[in-house]
């Protein structure tokens, strides 16, 4: 590559396909994300629980080994409750990961005025949001969806066809639960980061939405003697859907369907906020 001469030459070669250009943004954003050692360390930490689950599945199918240890084999049962617990733990880790990674995706671009540089090219706002959200989407699916399906597959291979056939719905539940978790967390993180334009504040706001949301919900319920306050608690809504999906018995005052509608409304609000804020220039009327 000869770049020693200072000259300019026009370009007349091939171009990449337009549909694939959002992946450029994904590639660069992901590379930026993993420059942080804390981020990388936390990402590795997120696989500890799935590994523990893997060990439990192995032990559940190793009766002789459990007998040697003196542990009754009924103690470890691999059922929908097992996967519900897996999803709950990984959901919390996903949330923490989103709080780390999410706010840094859009807010620096807004703060540094980079959006006109993206949108003066044949690159739309939808592609921009798609490129940025795919970073979180793939990252969170590596924490929730993919290990979950791997665990289910391993369990299925140990337990045999009969168990697999009877519990195939758990795999479906894992997919739906993960997708709900990924969608709401990604959209929430990006919308908040686009709204406040400041990475640290956006991260704090995301934590506030989750933690203060729960407190606020309790306050509403206590003051108004109702259960409707839970609709402002995103974590509670997600749990309500997961309880329905994994068919576990747990106390929850909201059923899956209203919780799903509420989360869809939140997703729509986040998308509206994103489309309003992710512009080359904000028009001040």
């Amino acid at each position: 590559m000869a770049v020693y001469r200072r000259n300019y030459r026009p370009y007349s070669g091939t171009q990449t396909r337009e549909w694939s250009r959002f992946l450029v943004l994904f590639r660069y954003s992901r590379r930026n994300l993993f420059r942080s050692k804390v981020q990388t360390g936390f990402f590795v930490l997120c696989f500890f629980y799935p590994i523990a689950c893997l060990v439990m599945i192995y032990l559940a199918h190793s009766a002789s080994f459990l007998a040697k240890l003196g542990v009754p084999s009924q103690l470890i049962s691999i059922d929908s409750m097992f996967f519900f617990r897996y999803m709950s733990v990984q959901g919390v880790l996903s949330f923490l990961m989103t709080a780390f990674a999410g706010p840094g995706l859009i807010s620096p671009d807004l703060a540094n005025g980079a959006l006109p540089l993206y949108f003066c090219r044949p690159f739309s706002r939808v592609e921009y949001v798609l490129g940025k959200s795919s970073v979180l989407g793939i990252l969170l699916s590596q924490i929730t969806l993919i290990p979950g399906l791997i665990l289910f597959t391993i369990q299925a291979s140990f337990a045999g066809a009969s168990w697999t056939w009877n519990n195939l719905w758990i795999a479906g539940s894992l997919v739906v639960a993960s997708l709900i978790c990924i969608s709401i967390l990604s959209l929430l993180a990006m919308a908040l980061s686009a709204w406040v334009k400041w990475r640290i504040v956006a991260g704090a706001l995301l934590l506030a939405v989750m933690f203060f949301g729960a407190g606020f919900a309790q306050a509403i319920n206590a003051v108004m003697h109702t259960d409707s306050g839970h609709f402002v608690d995103v974590a509670y809504l997600m749990a309500a859907i997961w309880i329905g999906l994994f068919r576990v018995e747990a106390e929850n005052s909201i059923t899956a369907f209203p919780a799903l509608i509420a989360l869809l409304v939140y997703c729509c609000i986040c998308l509206w906020l994103l489309m309003r804020k992710v512009r080359a220039f904000e028009v001040i009327r």
Binding site: V3, Y8, G13, Q15, V24, A114, P116, P122
Partner: protein, 322 residues
């Protein structure tokens, strides 16, 4: 991979060097923010190789550029770039355009090579080509030594150059520069102006330069569109202005009275007198010897006579006064 998707080839130049297809056509273009009309029915056809957009602050220069790039939707009229309507062919237009915005615009935590490479890739360059061209563009704008430094550590002048590099990396047909010399010290400004002139003279790209600095536009552009209050105050082909001797004459005179001015005006010349100085525009058919003749008749001494062409400042001030 696809061939560079420009269904529009750059317009061919006429024998005089002026491109035959207008670069930008405005037809009653109106842009409104809330209740305020920012651009009011702009109509013009711009053909030059380098077009300057001039006007005082708030005249609508940047709004016009942003509208051409599709950032703002017009409420009335239409605009075409390379013959393509901004309402229907925005993506095609954006393929052909490189844009250097006025304000700070960079992606944080990236060095210049990665930044320019990413912008190239987003414009459709394959990854390896984008890397090669990013290096070339950074060499071209003079950031070769600093190309692996984080953009956040750059000085204002270097950030301007990095913005220019990202605007040219994909080889656009039209380069839009919004206040490229903003905040630059004199030597950096000179470097930037020289580079814009080089790009113009290379004839690979056409340029729209938006500025409120008359010298920048005069140094680089061959056409100028002056905006005032969202309307076109004046449109001028600077090359033509330069070519056509407007016959501005400046005289330093002694012993003149009103008769001398009246006699000159009788010839059809426009005159303005201040103390010993007189400015005039010679009418057709009037030569300097006629002035000397009248001066001799009126016993007026002419100490100095200078021909002076209309500067951009004159054009601008006239447009602002109109």
């Amino acid at each position: 991979m696809t061939q560079p998707g420009a269904p529009v080839s750059e317009s061919r130049s006429s024998p005089t060097g002026v491109p035959s297809v207008p670069l930008i056509e405005l037809n009653g273009l109106t842009v409104r923010f809330g209740n305020r009309d920012i651009l009011r029915g702009l109509t013009a056809s711009l053909r030059g190789r380098a077009i300057g957009l001039l006007g005082p602050n708030g005249a609508g220069k940047s709004t016009l550029i942003n509208t051409l790039l599709g950032f703002y939707k017009p409420v009335g009229g239409s605009a075409k770039v390379f013959g393509q309507d901004i309402g229907t062919n925005l993506r095609n237009i954006r393929r052909l355009v490189g844009y250097m915005p006025e304000n700070d615009a960079f992606v944080s935590k990236m060095n210049a090579v990665s930044f320019v490479r990413m912008m190239g890739e987003l414009s459709g360059l394959p990854s390896r080509v984008a890397l090669e061209r990013a290096h070339e563009a950074l060499f071209y704008v003079g950031l070769a030594e600093a190309r692996y430094r984080q953009l956040g550590t750059y000085s204002l002048g270097m950030k301007q150059l990095a913005k220019l590099a990202q605007a040219i990396v994909h080889g656009p047909k039209l380069l839009i520069l919004d206040e490229p010399t903003n905040g630059l010290d004199p030597s950096a400004r000179q470097r930037m102006v020289r580079m814009v002139r080089e790009i113009r003279d290379s004839r690979e790209m056409r340029i729209v330069l938006c500025s409120h600095l008359l010298r920048d536009v005069e140094d680089t552009c061959d056409e100028v569109l002056i905006l005032k209050g969202g309307q076109i105050a004046h449109y001028s082909d600077l090359d033509e202005e330069r070519r056509s001797n407007k016959r501005f004459v400046e005289l330093e005179i002694y012993g003149a009275n009103g008769d001398f001015t009246a006699a000159i005006e009788k010839l059809g010349c426009e005159c303005a007198v201040a103390a010993n100085r007189m400015k005039m525009v010679l009418a057709d058919g009037v030569e300097t010897r006629d002035i000397f003749r009248i001066a001799a008749e009126q016993q007026v001494r002419i100490r100095r006579l200078n021909f002076r062409r209309d500067t951009l400042e004159d054009i601008f001030l006239k447009a602002m006064e109109s």
